[in-house]
Symmetry: C2
Subunit: 203 residues, 2 copies
Amino acid sequence: MSISNNTIERICRIFGYLDSIEKEKIEFISSSELAKAIGATEHTVRKDISQLNVIGFTRKGYEVKSLKKELGRKLNLDKHRKACIVGLGRLGTALLDYEKFQDDGFQIVAGFDCSINKIERIKSDINVFQVNRLKEIVKQQGIELGIIAVPAKSAQSVADRLSEAGVKGILNFSPIKVNVASGIIHLDMNFTSALRVISAQFK
Amino acid sequence: MSISNNTIERICRIFGYLDSIEKEKIEFISSSELAKAIGATEHTVRKDISQLNVIGFTRKGYEVKSLKKELGRKLNLDKHRKACIVGLGRLGTALLDYEKFQDDGFQIVAGFDCSINKIERIKSDINVFQVNRLKEIVKQQGIELGIIAVPAKSAQSVADRLSEAGVKGILNFSPIKVNVASGIIHLDMNFTSALRVISAQFK
DNA sequence: TCGTGTGAACTCTTTCACAGCG
DNA sequence: CGCTGTGAAAGAGTTCACACGA
């Protein structure tokens, strides 16, 4: 039986939480604490975890280290992955230096933009290139993830370029939905839509 | 009967899409075209729209202008809303000047940070303040939405401040889940979690 | 004919309830 | 006891199927 998207999302949030408490040397955690941390019910958390055939300890909860390891193993979250950012405007450059990605096992190894001027002006530890070198660099560096931070009108063409270059996943920050070949995993993060979803629930 | 969260999300995406094609002077659109644009099935789109008691025209689809107007009215998306950003690091300042918000009816009217130095350095059309003036400015300006762009360790205290200041909704870009009083709508946008959700589906 | 509107069928998720175990 | 693990029940959400109207 395959794992549902909701379950995957919750497990990823749990994984992130485990990562943060592992550093605080917390050894055991119960399903109800996990539930509170990620905003779900304890039943759902237990169900999610049991679906992955990971087991806890009666009366003590789950052992943080081994739970994290197991969840990571089952969902392939334990590998370091390389990513690149396309579009080096305000948002793109902010993401380029977002240290959290590094901490969490995602290494931004390249930035791309179509404007040569912009590329020359950027001061970052990360290498930046013109977008026509995208395929070359993706192949050469083994980049698995592409992050789109260009305006709406170029987003689809960037998505096409990334697909063609061979990335396995795309995180899209542009305000349009991009279409990609099946087989490439993608996720749209639309800021305006998020604000609308919030506003729609007012009062 | 209340409207489900999934439906709200899809309607918000539809609303955004309608907004973009309205500018292109497209008059009618079918459920299947909408479905494609937002990544859903045409059945779901029709169901969602009919739940809001909005009607289309047989054989022609929905009239773009009136559909947008109706969806906007039902979900309160037709009002301009004021927002503020707390945390003026790379991400915060990028969001401060994210023109899309303005186009889409969300006006960023203030930025906050705890560092005076940072505040003095920022050059933006938007007014920036020290975070201890948050409540004052939120009240004075009638700000309904707070956007959190601070690091994990200060995110919860910022959420508390925003709640206390009286915002109705919070969009959280920090990597931890924040807890807010029920009645305040909030949504967490966790970039790392998004990359993990994508990676978990690889191969 | 083509595309909407909607009850009904179906499928997927979540919640419940309780057995099991230290 | 307290907390996990899991089949079963309940609840949501999605898809289907077809009536309807231009």
